[in-house]
């Protein structure tokens, strides 16, 4: 059995930031199913928000208000306040670590405009900000290699909870296939999101809900899962991300008639309205037959920015367009469509990263979460661009600190290692033994299609019911597949099957929570309930596992400074 004071699963921004906190005093294991530098945080492009005021006067109050309004008032405002207040210090800390930031003429960190932010507050490194921060943190992890043990290409199967306390995880080494128990005083999940349940997504193949579902299977509810963000500018059919920075720098959205249609939907903010509003506007244009050439896409037009500006601020986007569709955005507009991007919901935590399992804030001792897999909730019903890198960094650090303080006070919990290990070995053996005729690929495709069509940008009762029943059918068919590769060595097929199991579970949770929320708010839009309903739904949803079924509960939203108002842009 492997032992660490604190074990962190996931080595993106949140996981590595947490590790750097814990390693100041305790021994830490950092486990990832890829390599730290391959984490999906690196795909974030546009920026990280903080009211530094480097190009215009700014304040944390304005950042907070923009975040709450952007989140359609579902955010817990006590957490948002802490979060935006922490932002400048977090940026300076990253800069001191060595993170490369684009600069103003006077040598300060440059800042640009972003959707839903009333001030230019996105600090950036050209159009690869997530990459710059990810590598800066990775550099620090390498620097502290003596106190951070990294497990690259290890997969986390299961959370171990004994007598109401989390005591470790069951994992396997992807390269050797060996299953191991890691015994820890505290476990932090920083496992990212689950955009891969949707057909068109900006997410990496790794975004498969592993962490959320492991927590769920250990009895932890998942919060606000109906709120999935669709990014307005994913590449047509492929979902490859074209940063919102393209619009932050002045890019236009055009429909098939060549009109800047955002005028009809958000006249004051135009292309820089929050993502939920822009994505819905795009989908409405497409549904009304006003897509480009009548097809399911619209145009992102950057031509008027000029080559020099594009090469300075958006070089990666230009290259992506050239490589993936042969379109040079200096000369031609890019075809885009709404693409599943970010999960506002996830494992419920308090503002210190402690996982809480009900409305009374009952903690699951020894279990912490941060980043996209967690729901604090600072983003409410819709996250603003550049707020996620900030979330991962702020709450990664905080979860690390809280886990560290907890682990300093307690002994290792009791753990029945061989029993826990046997459970995972049995699950793997069961997959190897399956001898059905169902194709996992087919199941995965059907899941992604039905989630996109019926639980996507626009939803209604009939579609959601049909979606849930399709997913339930797929879950049955999933048990009747067959694996080709039964080896131990780097069996990527096996892990894809395990991940598919997680995604099917997640898809059912998302659509079930979406069916229950009979209102439209932020990223969740019901055509049969097109208005926000504060009287009945100004509350967070919690989906619990119960006897193989899903059980829905709710908890109140924390409102402090800003009373819910109508949200217009």
């Amino acid at each position: 059995m492997i032992k660490h004071d604190v074990l962190i699963v996931g080595a993106g921004l949140a996981g590595m930031r947490a590790a750097l906190e814990v390693c100041k005093e305790l021994d830490v294991g950092l486990l990832t199913k890829v390599y730290p530098s391959r984490s999906h945080s690196g795909a974030a492009q546009g920026g990280i928000a903080a009211a530094l005021g480097n190009s215009e006067d700014d304040s944390w109050e304005e950042h907070m208000f923009d975040t709450v309004k952007g989140g359609d008032y579902l955010n817990d405002q006590d957490a948002v306040e802490e979060y935006v207040k922490a932002a400048p210090e977090v940026i300076y800390e990253l800069e001191h670590m060595g993170c490369a930031f684009s600069r103003t003429e006077d040598g300060k960190i440059a800042q640009r405009s972003f959707g839903g932010h009333s001030k230019p507050r996105a600090c950036f490194s050209a159009d690869r900000t997530g990459h710059a921060i990810l590598h800066a943190l990775h550099e620090q992890v390498l620097k502290h290699a003596k106190s951070i043990k990294v497990y690259s290409e290890w997969y986390m199967h299961q959370l171990v909870v004994e007598e109401g306390r989390c005591c470790g995880v069951v994992v396997s080494n992807i390269r050797t296939g060996e299953v191991e128990v890691i015994h820890a005083k505290a476990v932090i999940f920083a496992t990212g999101g689950y955009g891969r349940v949707f057909q068109i997504t900006t997410n990496a193949f790794a975004g498969t809900a592993d962490g959320a579902i492991a927590a769920f299977r250990a009895g932890v509810p998942l919060e606000d899962c109906e709120f999935v963000q669709f990014h307005p500018s994913g590449l047509y059919r492929q979902g490859i991300l074209f940063s919102e920075a393209a619009r932050g720098e002045g890019g236009y959205l055009l429909n098939g008639k060549g009109e800047r249609f955002m005028e009809q939907y958000a006249p004051s903010r135009m292309e820089l309205a929050p993502r939920d509003i822009v994505a819905r506007a795009e989908q409405s244009e497409i549904d009304a037959g006003r897509g480009v050439n009548g097809e399911d896409y619209i145009h992102l037009d950057l031509r008027h920015l000029g080559e020099a500006r594009i090469m300075e601020r958006l070089p990666q986007i230009r290259q992506l367009g050239i490589d993936f569709i042969g379109v040079d955005c200096v000369k031609d507009p890019l075809p885009i469509q709404p693409s599943a991007h970010y999960s506002m919901g996830g494992i419920p935590t308090d503002m210190f990263g402690q996982v809480i399992i009900d409305a009374d804030k009952t903690p699951l001792k020894g279990f912490f979460a941060a980043g996209e897999c967690a729901c604090v909730s600072v983003h409410g019903a819709n996250r603003l661009g550049t707020n996620s890198l900030l979330d991962a960094t702020v709450f990664g650090g905080r979860a690390g600190r809280t886990a560290l303080e907890y682990a300093k006070k307690v002994e290792f919990g009791k753990i029945n290692g061989s029993h826990e290990k046997a459970r995972v070995l049995d699950q793997i053996e069961e997959i190897f033994q399956r001898d059905g005729t169902e194709s996992y690929n087919q199941i995965r495709n059907e899941m992604k299609e039905v989630m996109m069509d019926k639980c996507g940008v626009f939803r209604d009762e009939e579609n959601l019911k049909s979606c849930i029943s399709t997913i339930q059918g797929l879950k049955e068919r999933y048990k009747k597949g067959k694996v080709t590769d039964k080896g131990q060595l780097f069996n990527s097929e096996l892990y894809e099957i395990v991940e598919l199991g997680n995604m099917l579970e997640m898809a059912e949770i998302i659509s079930t929570a979406a069916l229950a929320r009979q209102e439209s708010r932020g990223g969740h839009h019901r055509t049969d309930f097109p208005k926000r309903d504060d009287e009945n739904f100004l509350k967070h949803s919690l989906v619990y596992p119960k006897d193989g079924q899903l059980e829905l509960k709710y908890k109140p939203v924390v409102v402090t400074r800003y009373q819910p108002k109508e949200r217009t842009y």
Partner: protein, 314 residues
Amino acid sequence: MAKFRIKRFNPEKQADPYYEEFDFEIPEGATLLDCLNHIKWNMDGALTYRMSCRSAICGSCAVKGNGHALLACQKQAAHLLKDGSDTITIEPLGNMPVIKDLVTDFKQFWEKIDQVKPYLQNNEKPPAQEREQSPQQFKKIDDATTCIMCGACYSDCQVLAVDNKFLGPAALAKAQRFVGDSRDQATRERVKELSKPGGMWDCTHCAECVERCPKPAEPFYRIKGLMESALKEGVTNNVGARHALSFVNSVKHSGRLNENKIPIESMGYFNIKGLLDLLPVGLRMLLKMKIPPIIHKPIDDVKDVQRIFEEFGE
């Protein structure tokens, strides 16, 4: 119909690698990664490779396509069907041990990254806000910071193929990212360390890494940056730097290379052991009648060459 000829290796089943072909029509716009996924999900679930972001930023899916390293997700499969050929050969990255199929062992790659102390070194107490850095100073590290650690340069590096002590292009590019950073205070120690055998001067300037780099990191240009920094810092007491300086000197004075003098100046006049090491090569050249003329004559237009040097202030 395209043929995907893939190098397979699974030591659990068979000790030796072999090639297997998969035939299908490349869907319009499919990347090489899309094609690998098509094979894995429809034809052979056991085919093993790494992938994650499929947007050329995570660096997982580097493999060799038709003999050259590339990111599978970034490459249109049809573009690999050049000159009427119907076959695309896919192999694991080079200069690394293979674990299974297209999955290679990056252990040594990462160890070399570690060797260059890949983190900012600055012992001053940081200011309350950001350290200042001008846009021009940022630009000096901008390209190097785009490296995604995919290993494509490492795979195809000609020096690593014969000398695995060489740090390799990725680690050297990473080193330049700090040497060039106005906030880093360890420039001198870094370039000294990087001037040792296995470091920057072991690069043979073939620029293969520039061809293979999927990002603007283009390691060879970063290595050149390191060399400039080393000379600027006066870290010249090593074969590589002496060679570069002798080379420049020779061209400046005679418009061409003095092939008798350069090896000796590179080794250093007082480096007895190094000079003795040169003897056998010299003797073999003599025997094969390949010795350059003993009297080194300048070219006719040497004045023009010297004008170029003056123009650039050396």
